[in-house]
Symmetry: C2
Subunit: 312 residues, 2 copies
């Protein structure tokens, strides 16, 4: 063995040192908004070498096989998590990976795809913050934490619309998933640098789907200095408050009100944009929750992530 490892080291000694790369994790339960937030970021950074993938690709079983299994995709045993960790390490070292591929449209596992390291890599999914090893591969980590009733509504909408399930199936699945969600997914919240929660505007009427955002900025990474932008002009729509998190630890909570006047959210957006060192218009993809609907709280959350992607 040792002679072979030495031979490999010799054979790879000429390889260039991996270039600069920033890796962002976006973890969260099913239908918590991971893909929406990722898509806007990837589109906004279209000029840079950016790539993203979902850890659902590491599902060990396809939809048919899962029917006879005693666990859901939220169980570690239902995923090749050891391989996910290995692939995250390889990317960190600047190496390409041949990534498995799970097709959500029909629940099948397909041929793997080459994924090459990029300047920026966003990894979203159920498990990116699963282990000490997987967490060590990221520069900045996010957990999406909408209230359960919001996530349930989003999941029903998406899975009946895009993944060919009936509403009854989705609701039954949510019940089955709950214990595994509690045990394996939600504990990842504790390991995120940023926790984002989109929730209905307080005191809203039933028909009002507008979301506010609460963005917890943990002191585990250096965040943009927001004190300068939280002036009297913005105070009503956006405010920063020092709070204790669920676990009692101190954290900055940035609240962006869903019904804030565009004039004041615009100031916040522009200031973060300049803070990043960017000129020109803010990319139009930021804040888009559909082809036609824009959410300023989402845009602000994404701009904070952009700050980390570009400045870290």
């Amino acid at each position: 063995m040792p002679h072979r490892i030495a031979a490999i080291q010799k054979a790879t000694a000429h390889l260039p040192h991996p270039g600069r790369m920033t890796m962002l994790a976006i973890a969260g339960d099913s239908a918590s908004g991971k893909t929406t937030i990722t898509k806007g970021l990837v589109k906004a950074l279209g000029d840079m070498r950016i790539g993203s993938f979902c850890t659902d690709d590491y599902h060990r079983y396809d939809r048919v096989e899962r029917k006879s299994l005693p666990f859901t995709p939220l169980h570690p045993e239902c995923n090749y998590l050891e391989i996910m960790e290995q692939h995250l390490q390889l990317l960190t070292l600047g190496q390409p990976i041949l990534k498995p591929k799970y097709h959500h449209s029909d629940g099948t596992l397909g041929r793997p795809e080459l994924f090459e390291p990029q300047e920026i890599v966003i990894v979203e999914g159920l498990f990116p913050l699963w282990s000490k090893l997987s967490r060590a591969t990221f520069d900045v980590t996010v957990y999406l934490d909408p209230p359960e009733e919001v996530r349930r509504r989003w999941k029903v909408q998406r899975d009946t619309g895009k993944r060919g399930y009936t509403e009854e199936e989705v609701l039954k699945d949510l019940v089955k998933r709950e214990p595994e969600s509690e045990k394996y997914i939600r504990p990842q919240r504790a390991h995120a640098d940023i926790v984002i929660s989109f929730a209905p505007v307080e005191g809203r009427t039933e028909s009002d789907q507008t979301m506010s955002a609460t963005i917890l900025l943990r002191p585990t990474v250096p965040h943009p200095d927001l004190s300068s932008i939280l002036t009297s002009d913005t105070r009503e729509s956006v405010h920063l408050k020092l709070i204790r998190d669920q676990d009692g630890k101190p954290v900055d909570a940035l609240h962006v009100h869903g019904h804030a006047a565009e004039a004041s959210t615009k100031i916040v957006e522009e200031t973060i944009w300049q803070h990043i060192g960017m000129t020109g218009e803010i990319p139009q993809s930021l804040g888009m929750i559909s082809e036609t609907t824009r959410s300023a709280p989402l845009a602000i959350a994404q701009l904070i992530l952009l700050h980390h992607l570009i400045r870290s």
Copy 2:
């Protein structure tokens, strides 16, 4: 970057040192006998933890896609060779891989498969000795080198029988493959510790399909000492000769005559078997070229490989 690599090193520091593992490469052109020789070895070592795979699994394109490409599967561009090298390295380090899967029966690329490191791993295919890096991962390396007319006959038989091609397609394909075979496959012969050539018995009649074997034992690894077994009893059926190879380098050439009397090949087989340190019967899978036909020259070639697998 460096901080992340350090974090990964820290997170993996508890992992056990990889166990003892022997890796054997069997390279050679299409239909040169790689699978036949591998199958017999895997079956013979059934009691040990042994695994094998074919580097054809690293094909980048499926059969339909290849139809519109200017190269054949023998071209490096037609394969994920960088990923193959990476996976060989990972196995050498005792890590599992999620290996792509090419289905020869219908020419499709399927879902990848978990392949875990074993005591003995045999990697056969068109490209295992392709690069300095891939070669560095093996303990012993073999190249199968039958005369072209034999290989053509084998290829037509197999591809029309098992892979759904017509004879005309196979012959046309052989012509298309020749320049890439010369450029990319045959140069791997120079990097093998052992070169095995099965060829028709000299002076045979047309209907006689019996094969002799010439086994070149290069002084790059310590081979079993055969001098003791090449006595007057075996001299006619098996002999060892010091020759110069095609490239002028000195090499031991072990010739096993296809029509040798079973009594004398049996002596050679038994002696190598004991030389390895094995007791009991020689495994019945050795030498089998079909369910019912046994070839003593194949058995002797496989026994020499067994020596390397068990003793190295």
